[in-house]
Symmetry: C2
Subunit: 433 residues, 2 copies
């Protein structure tokens, strides 16, 4: 069963027609109601009536996180305050946070896209969803919550932390679905085992990943730990929240709800649109949003789009899982490195744990990169010669992946700090400014 | 304007008729669908058809928190899992937690009662509600959230903590309504002042108090700090969550949504119903709940009911704010003491801060009670003689309130730990088991 077959399986022609009408309407609404768009479009001499085809979106300027920050707090809202019913906000670790505003219809739409996503994961009204994402200004918790309410499944809004209680509830409630960041999932499995509970025994039906980059190998490890398939959930607070794209049962890409979001892939350096299948920066445009329509948002997320037929019969385009960020990729000795590449290399090797940290330094005007990796308990107390062999093997594998020789340190099991939210994978000690 | 005039202002006769019908229906539903009620009623020889008048509720046994605990996790549910859409849970500091289950209609009803409450506080769709209650298994955050969504006001689901960010957002967003526990409100005001921001300058319209006992004097202090009226919100996770009763503009009692909850006041020792106006333990019965109907729940909260006309024109009964708990009252030298009594005494005295802690010990087989109170900065570094006078004055005032002489210690300003949730007022070091 498909949650909204009429929408999710419509033909490309019909979809493009709908998208064009929605794009024209939202660009007009943004231009007329948001001073930011009005000013920018006027300056560039581009106007809503210039959008005659979907390709004409190229005429419009991009919107960046900095643009949104400048509108702090409510400058990007396109409706009067009395029509806004909820606000969320990005973390604001650098500078002012971005505030995201929702009308009642926006919340309904958010519930709809996440309901589609939970449905793709095989969730029905009988399922018990334990949602370990944080609730609050962050959209993580609420997206799944609203989607679950729409589906009518049982949501357990336990939020982040209290790991031992999470495990107890999982067992006592008979949780069928866990929502977590991959690094928290690894931690949960680890703590469960410490408590003498095999995560497999919970009898999970599905796992939802969110809010963090991961690798195929990490998915396999988690799927194996919990004996359940894990699906990728993608979202951005600026555009809506989790649910913009979710993976279907074929587990090889995330269907974007294209009746709500228009995706493009651009070259992050030139801003030019790239053709189907090419890797680049994802740009998203809200097609329905009332409270805060965002046009051509540069997500900084690196992925690619695939329009070929999916075996699930949904026709919405599939995006690859995010393999990096156009901004947080590490440039070392001129080489762009993504933590996911390191991870990919590590997960190919036995005798180590999938916990690692990348430390970048510049001791003598030259970049140095060190990868700390946890040895597994049985190897750590083994012969030194064996340790040296493994270390060399990891260095080879990483070099193979990123084209650069790095220094690898094998550290004691459980010595790398565990995270209850996003894992801190990169510690950049260089002064890059 | 009254949110639901038809319900909130109906005549007592009409209300009693509706309540009886609902009571008959829910007792029947509980008896038929929940093994706990079925067994208990059968044992006592009391059956749904014995409820012929509202007074017949006296024939039914009470339900206690322990009864609910025994049904952990889902034993009290009256519908199959697929009809449950959300679960919450009490904190479970002692023993197993109580799980509370909601159908879609239950969530709608919860939104409705909280919408009535926000309306009583003068909140409209233009208002910006900064909700500092925690989201998660606890119902605190979600009650206000759902009510605000129903009203259509803007909810900022910031949750607990991050006090400096709370203050920044309050100022930047132009928050009109703050929801907090009284002790967190005091802390917020204190931190704002430290940051050079006068809490009065925020321009609040209303404050909602929840989840904690407080005194009239504490309300005055908070209202004065923020220059806004503060309203009491009452709720229990077992029965629903916040919104069961909320204070109207006359600020002298909380209107219970009597079409959803049937209130009684009983003598906590004998279990006998007490007449109007008498102080005793509040007992509540769900009249509408589908997911988990709770019949005659002993709340342990001490209050009284008043059926006289309210100037706001609402006809629903008013309960006094909670002045104690029938279980957590401290018995010292055989005297029952409520922290609220100590607080009341303290707030009558100048030169001290409203931060205090009650420490109960039993050093020589006799109870001793010490009250630690913060001196205000201007007095603390003053003459010792003045300090001794104030100490004696506090001891007199407390004795007047509780009928017992206690030891008072004046401590340094800001030396008593501040709380971001419920304040820890009583430290009982006696072995009472
Ligand atoms: Zn598919
Ligand atoms: Zn009233």
């Amino acid at each position: 069963m498909i949650w909204n077959k009429e929408a999710e399986c419509m033909s490309r022609e019909e979809l493009r027609e709908i998208q064009l009408k929605k794009l024209q309407k939202i660009v007009k609404r943004a231009y007329e109601n948001v001073p930011y768009y009005n000013k920018k479009y006027t300056e560039l001499g581009v106007f809503p009536e210039d959008i005659e085809t979907l390709e004409d979106i190229n005429k419009l300027p991009f919107t960046t996180k900095d643009d949104l920050r400048e509108g702090y707090p409510f400058g990007m809202f396109a409706v009067p305050p009395k029509e806004i019913v909820e606000v969320h906000s990005s973390s604001g670790t650098t500078g002012k946070p971005v505030v995201s505003g929702y009308t009642r219809k926006d919340l309904d739409d958010w519930s709809e896209i996440m309901a589609r996503g939970l449905n793709m994961m095989g969730i029905h009204e009988e399922d018990i969803i334990q949602n370990t994402h944080g609730y609050g200004l962050f959209t993580g918790g609420f997206g799944v919550h609203y989607g679950a309410q729409k589906i009518g499944s049982i949501v357990v809004p336990i939020s982040t932390g209290q790991t031992r209680r999470q495990i107890e509830i999982m067992k006592d409630f008979g949780t069928t679905t866990l929502i977590f960041t991959p690094s928290y999932g690894l931690y949960l499995a680890e703590v469960a085992k410490e408590e003498g509970i095999d995560p497999k025994s919970v009898g999970l039906k599905a796992i939802g990943f969110g809010a963090e980059m991961w690798t195929e190998e990490m998915r396999k490890k988690i799927e194996n730990d919990f004996n359940a398939p894990a699906f990728n959930i993608y979202g951005l607070t600026e555009l809506m929240g989790p649910g913009i794209a979710v993976e279907c049962s074929s587990q090889n890409g995330l269907h974007i709800s294209e009746d709500y979001f228009l995706p493009e892939i651009i070259d992050p350096n030139t801003g030019k649109q790239l053709e189907e299948g090419k890797k680049g920066e994802l740009v998203l445009t809200n097609l329905e949003r009332e409270g805060m329509p965002i046009i051509r948002f540069r997500t900084k997320d690196i992925t690619s789009l695939h329009y070929d037929k999916c075996e699930c019969t949904r026709t919405f385009v599939k995006m690859d899982r995010i393999t990096g960020r156009s901004d947080d990729m590490i440039k070392v000795k001129g080489v762009a490195i993504f933590p996911s590449q390191i991870e990919k290399a590590l997960l190919k090797i036995d005798s180590i744990e999938p916990h690692y940290q990348i430390i970048v330094t510049r001791p003598h005007l030259m970049d140095e990169i060190e990868v700390k990796v946890e040895a597994s308990p049985d190897i750590f107390f083994d012969e030194v010669k064996e340790m040296i062999n493994i270390k060399k093997k990891i260095e080879d594998y990483i070099e193979n992946e990123i084209g650069l020789r790095v220094k690898v340190s094998l550290v004691e099991p459980k010595s790398i700090p565990r995270s209850e939210g996003k894992a801190v994978r990169v510690i950049d000690k260089r002064d890059l400014h």
